[in-house]
Symmetry: C2
Subunit: 122 residues, 2 copies
DNA sequence: CAAATGATTGATCATTCATTCAACTGTATT
DNA sequence: AATACAGTTGAATGAATGATCAATCATTTG
């Protein structure tokens, strides 16, 4: 439990509205939750990963196909697929030499949809 | 209009499933849209900005209050508020020396909500 | 007017991160 | 067994970025 005094110590200013700060502090989720949230959005913050996720909404695809679609090397795509695997946003199946990737989260489309609402209003 | 041949030129592999690539290419949004989408999520990808946005869901706050709440300097907060202003996610009003910030987008809460759904399922 | 204070800004530094390149793994084909 | 090919991996490089620090702006107050 951090006290107001502790916080002031770390920052360079006075509390102007102590009541507001205390009220908001009581309602904020745990720092860990917000850190995980930021980490999730970090995955969506790169256009290559966004394009991969977008493509997989329409069909499962192998690494080569994605590379051709996006005009990038297999290596670059493979590196990005790694992040997407680690955050469990995509899954894969092997068929011989070929690895097929597909979406692994029903929320991906929803997050996309909300984001597009904002973008399309610019 | 890019041709399949052009894409292969830029990458290091063959098209394995030309039909799939063509079908998906036809359904993908414009690159510019996906770039804007990634830029939007980039704003959400830093835990300081996420915490600021989260706090502003509960109350408008001045820079000092946010700094105290998060245990950071006014300067650091002010820099991040700048990104949030530029992407029109927050708005502000001045009252004398004090600048009060608040949310400026109804979609912020929705994007948060979808993100939290994913995070809480880990 | 001068001092104090809330806030912003620009430069700097350290860190993070996406792509490239080369090497390597595993599977299929001949 | 040898070759070819889909895919992965690790190191290296260059670009992007967040916090710090000092300087500055703007408004209020003595």
């Amino acid at each position: 439990m951090r006290s107001i005094a502790d916080e002031i110590e770390k920052c360079d200013c006075n509390v102007i509205h102590e009541d507001v700060v205390e009220k908001v502090r009581g309602q904020m989720p745990e720092d860990e939750v917000l850190l995980n949230l930021a980490d999730l959005f970090k995955v969506f913050s790169d256009s290559t990963r966004v394009r991969i996720l977008c493509a997989l909404q329409y069909s499962e695809m192998c690494v080569c196909d994605i590379a051709v679609l996006l005009g990038m090397t297999k290596s670059a795509i493979s590196h990005q697929l790694r992040s997407l695997r680690q955050t469990r946003l995509v899954k894969y199946r092997k068929d011989g030499k070929v690895v097929y990737y597909s979406l692994d989260d029903e929320h991906v489309s929803n997050v996309f949809a909300q984001g597009l609402l904002h973008v399309s209003e610019q």
